[in-house]
């Protein structure tokens, strides 16, 4: 049986009902991983032995009549910026050395309590800064749909793992598009939840006011399954919204778009948008219209004009502060020197890669006295206007339909020396983070060259289930994405 092609929900129910064992599933997925890793490099730390032991434990629980939970025996990949107790956590950087956190991220804890089996920690752009997973101290990840191309980033390793069938689901983090852009590039689904829906406790911060954890999967129902597990109030994250969450699987039981208004963003059509991706939006819109939705025109001029510069002030500013703790004093890399300042400088110069250093310097500058008002404060004002602009758009539309990325997956090395073009890759995703909204990349199949197509759906805050309902309708039409060959035939 090809367990690695199955959905998480089918795996969990199969194991619970005794059709097969968690060990069978994990062995198959690990074999898949072992076969493709030399080509893909999607994982920084595979956890084969831990995973097998966990699977055996789950099988024992099932055979003794216990129910390990809704993710019973489901292999899962975690981005390597989420803490798992006793497991090396690198953030794709040299600076953390082989630091092993003494605690679990809330999401890791929730997944494991639901019976999931973590099979590896995935590759990423260093500290989640990048859009290609080329900025990793552990080498680049390849796109399993076309191994000459990048998988997107920064959660490229998680996206590639799911596309290649290491696991049916994975967790990523999204600060400016780091789930939705790699989901688009790898031809799978990826959801960035509303800011505050999922706890960030244990997620190594990049930009605290923008970061949010979310799932990758090859089916909308698996996205909903993960959301039902990880979307919980957590008092350890003060930005996590108190109260219950709706049932996400419940929201896709009988999905319909009838009578709903779908907004197409005027500013985000045409221009430099890849024609295939433009057509994907048009075709999706036509399908939704024929399913009873009303297509409306919405406008996001501030997001289009100022979203990118606004983001590239706020995110680096927060990052410059969040990453200051990596000073070699308590953990990770330390380059000894005769005095403290030199020790800090040497440790950080050696430990951080070029892109991270670029953003720390940008952010430090933006917060400096004399420049704060002109940069950081101004960016905060723009951010507020972007929020208002989205709120206005949602007066006219229930959901916004727009591209996830301006281009199809680019080739490895193509943009590595051109940071601004690399940044442009997130031009459609980062306004969603600035406004704290939920956004989802939905796979819409492949183009004639076999490269993945996608659309992005955006909803008002806390309306994540509305995204899932639309995504389910689109998936029913476009088909569920299959497992990629990963360069191995």
């Amino acid at each position: 049986m090809l367990f690695h092609e199955m959905e998480a929900s089918s795996i969990a129910s199969g194991i619970r009902e005794g059709e097969f064992t968690a060990k069978d599933v994990v062995v198959d997925c690990l074999a898949r991983m072992r076969a493709l890793e030399p080509v893909l490099n999607a994982l920084i730390t595979p956890l084969s032995e831990n995973a097998l032991a966990k699977a055996v434990g789950i099988d024992a629980a099932v055979s003794s009549g216990k129910d390990p939970g809704s993710l019973c025996g489901v292999p899962v990949v975690i981005k390597d910026n989420m803490c798992a107790r006793g497991v090396r956590t690198t953030c794709g950087s040299r600076i953390l050395g082989d630091w092993k956190p003494p605690y679990d991220a809330t999401v890791v804890d929730l997944l494991e309590k639901a019976g999931a089996v973590v099979i590896g920690k995935s590759n990423m752009d260093e500290f989640a800064m990048g859009s290609s997973t080329e900025h990793s101290a552990f080498g680049p990840t390849s796109n399993p749909r076309d191994t000459d191309r990048v998988p997107g980033g920064s959660s490229g390793g998680s996206a590639a793992s799911v596309a290649a069938g290491y696991a049916p689901i994975a967790l990523g983090s999204d600060t400016g598009g780091s789930i939705r852009q790699p989901a688009a590039f790898c031809g799978i689904h990826g959801l960035k939840p509303t800011y505050g829906l999922v706890s960030r406790w244990g997620l190594v911060a990049f930009a605290s006011s923008l970061d949010q954890i979310g799932p990758f999967a090859r089916s909308v129902s698996d996205i909903a399954l993960v959301m039902d597990t990880i979307a919980r109030y957590d008092p350890r994250d003060s930005t996590c919204r108190p109260g219950d969450r709706p049932g996400y699987r419940e929201s896709i039981k009988a999905p319909t778009v009838r009578g709903k208004r779908v907004g197409i963003v005027r500013e985000f059509q045409g221009g430099s948008l890849d024609p295939d991706l433009g057509r994907s939006i048009e075709n999706t819109a036509s399908m939704l219209a024929s399913s009873g939705a009303e297509i409306v025109d919405v406008s996001l001029p501030e997001s289009a004009a100022y979203g990118l510069p606004c983001y590239y002030i706020i995110a680096p500013a927060e990052a410059s502060s969040n990453l200051a703790r990596f000073d070699g004093v308590r953990y990770g890399l330390r380059e000894d020197a005769a005095d403290l300042i030199t020790q800090f400088i040497r440790t950080r110069s050696k430990g951080f890669g070029e892109e991270v250093q670029r953003r720390i310097l940008t952010g430090t500058f933006a917060l400096s006295s004399g420049y704060y008002d002109a940069y950081y404060l101004l960016a905060l004002k723009v951010r507020r206007r972007i929020c208002v602009e989205f709120a206005d758009a949602f007066e006219a539309a229930d959901v916004i339909l727009m591209p996830a990325t301006p281009s199809l997956p680019f080739r490895k090395g193509e943009l590595i020396d051109d940071p601004i073009s690399m940044y442009m890759s997130d031009v459609f995703t980062l306004p969603v983070n600035l406004a704290g909204l939920p956004g989802m990349t939905v796979s819409t199949g492949m183009n004639d060259s076999g490269l993945p197509l996608s659309v992005q759906l955006v909803a008002p805050r806390w309306e994540d289930s509305r995204l899932l309902e639309f995504a389910a309708v689109i998936e029913a039409w476009a088909g569920r994405p299959g497992v990629a060959s990963g360069g191995v035939l």
Binding site: L96, V204, S208, P235, D237, S238, A324, R325, R330, S369
Partner: protein
């Protein structure tokens, strides 16, 4: 030409460690003194990657309490900022503090000096987290020359309230009175133990000089003043140093200077690590904090009368001396004890005298708190009632109080134990004692007998001996009458 004169201008930043059980942003215990290093720590206060802060509401309450007592306005929406700088004792490389919207602003507090009251305005009170402690492995515990340094993060994240005064203090003595009043207040409120030696109360002082020719010297911040004495000495030193420079026509450099207590000088601490740009920005991990009206009102209702009010009340309404008003208002429990003694019927002045001498003495000797005493305010008041009526002399009453304090028994029982009775000795026994004393002091008695004791000195002397003999259990006029009677009998 007129000689130049100067005015000293001082503003203080007082950091008060709040008496919470747990730290400001996590649930680790705050007890760092005497704990094994790095045991009261967790991912949050160690600033481990991925950890996040959650606000301890108790610290907020204590902050509100201090702010209300200082007559501050509370900001109903307050927020935290990050103050960024690198130092090994700062686990996240930023301190979570407050910046443009502190917990409270615009308060005031009176200080007393040389019989005058001066109102000092309070700029702001804000909350922030403490840093860890560096331990340098050298003989003198200093950084320079240390082979290595150790960090203890037990203190990291302990809540502090920073109270900033307006620059309205005009002498080191006023600065001292200000710090003492803050300390008294935080102890009254039980928001902090206010102990300077252990570091729960820390002071940074800003000082400048205004010259009569219109020049105003730059402000200098003095750090590393670890006691009141050190603060006064440092301010005196700076006053002289700054005036000297201004007299020579030189500029004062605006800078931070460290007090060296051993050498008795302040030293410039300019250097790379001092040239800070803290890059304050709103802490994104903590949403704005709503300080609810109900919380503020509940705290307001729980506030005790502040020390300066007690002091003024003792001085103005009770007409106690300035020194007594000060010493009796030093500690809230003592002041309340005194008030309750008076409320139980004792004369205020008499109650004050007894509390000041006898109660405070016992507290000093035993190290007990007022609440630990075996005698409550009602007990003392009932004892004082006997003294007031004249049925117990002061001396006897002190013996009775000692027994009450030792055994925790009521006045009547203590009097029995002391062998004294209210109302004094019987006429027969008094007669016996008087006859005996007069007999034993024949020379003095003779003078009385012959009427030569015109000044009454000898009578007083004999009366004193008799009083001692009867343990003060008779009114002086009764004793005097009995002496006359014995003398008459001798004549008769």
């Amino acid at each position: 030409m007129m000689p130049l004169s100067f005015e000293t201008v001082i503003g203080l930043e007082v950091h008060v460690q709040l008496a919470t059980e747990s730290k400001l942003f996590c649930s680790c215990p705050t007890a760092y003194i005497g704990s094994e290093p790095n045991t009261n720590v967790c991912p949050a206060c160690l600033g481990l990657p991925g950890s996040l802060p959650s606000l301890n509401r108790r610290a907020l309450e204590l902050g509100v309490k201090a702010a209300l007592a200082l007559n501050c306005s509370i900001n109903c929406m307050t927020k935290f900022h990050r103050k960024n700088y690198f130092y090994p004792d700062l686990p996240k490389a930023f301190q979570v503090s407050q910046y443009d919207v502190p917990l409270a602003v615009s308060g005031s507090m009176p200080i007393f000096l040389e019989g005058k009251v001066k109102n000092i305005n309070i700029t702001r009170l804000h909350l922030e987290e403490d840093a860890g402690k560096l331990i340098h492995e050298t003989a003198d515990g200093r950084l320079s020359g240390a082979a290595f340094s150790l960090v203890d993060y037990n203190r990291a994240g302990v809540p502090l309230a920073e109270i900033v005064s307006e620059p309205e203090l005009s002498s080191p003595e006023e600065a001292r009175e200000y710090v003492l009043m803050i300390r008294r207040l935080v102890r009254y409120l039980e928001v902090s133990d206010g102990d300077m030696e252990s570091g729960s109360l820390r002071v940074d002082a800003n000082i400048s000089q205004k010259c009569s020719d219109g020049r105003w010297g730059s402000r200098v911040e003095i750090k590393n003043v670890n006691s009141l004495r050190a603060m006064e000495r440092a301010l005196e030193y700076e006053t002289i140093r700054q005036r000297g420079l201004l007299l020579k026509g030189e500029e004062i450099v605006q800078e931070t200077r460290h007090w060296d207590d051993n050498s008795g000088v302040t030293r410039s601490s300019r250097g790379k690590e001092e040239a800070h740009d803290y890059r304050y920005f709103p802490e994104p991990d903590l949403p704005q904090i709503a300080v609810e009206r109900t919380l503020v009102e509940n705290v307001r209702e729980s506030l005790p009368e502040p020390p300066w009010k007690k002091r003024e009340k003792f001085a103005r309404e009770w007409r106690l001396s300035p020194a007594d008003s000060a010493s009796l208002s030093e500690n809230l429990d003592v002041a309340v004890f005194l008030e309750n003694v008076a409320a139980s019927g004792a004369d205020r002045q008499m109650a004050a005298n007894w509390v000041k001498t006898d109660i405070l003495r016992v507290l000093n000797e035993t190290g007990l708190a007022v609440g630990d005493l075996q005698v409550g305010p009602e007990g003392l008041a009932s004892l004082l009632a006997h003294v007031e009526k004249g049925s117990l002399s002061n001396t006897a009453a002190k013996d009775v109080l000692d027994i009450m304090l030792k055994k925790g028994i009521a006045v009547d029982d203590a009097m029995k134990e002391a062998g004294v009775k209210a109302g004094g000795v019987s006429r027969e026994s008094l007669l016996g004692v008087v006859a005996k004393v007069l007999g034993e002091n024949a020379a003095e008695t003779a003078l009385l007998f012959s009427g030569e004791d015109t000044s009454g000195k000898k009578r007083k002397f004999l009366q004193g001996l008799i009083m001692r003999e009867i343990r003060g259990q008779a009114a002086p006029e009764d004793v005097s009458a009995m002496i006359d009677r014995v003398l008459d009998e001798m004549k008769g």
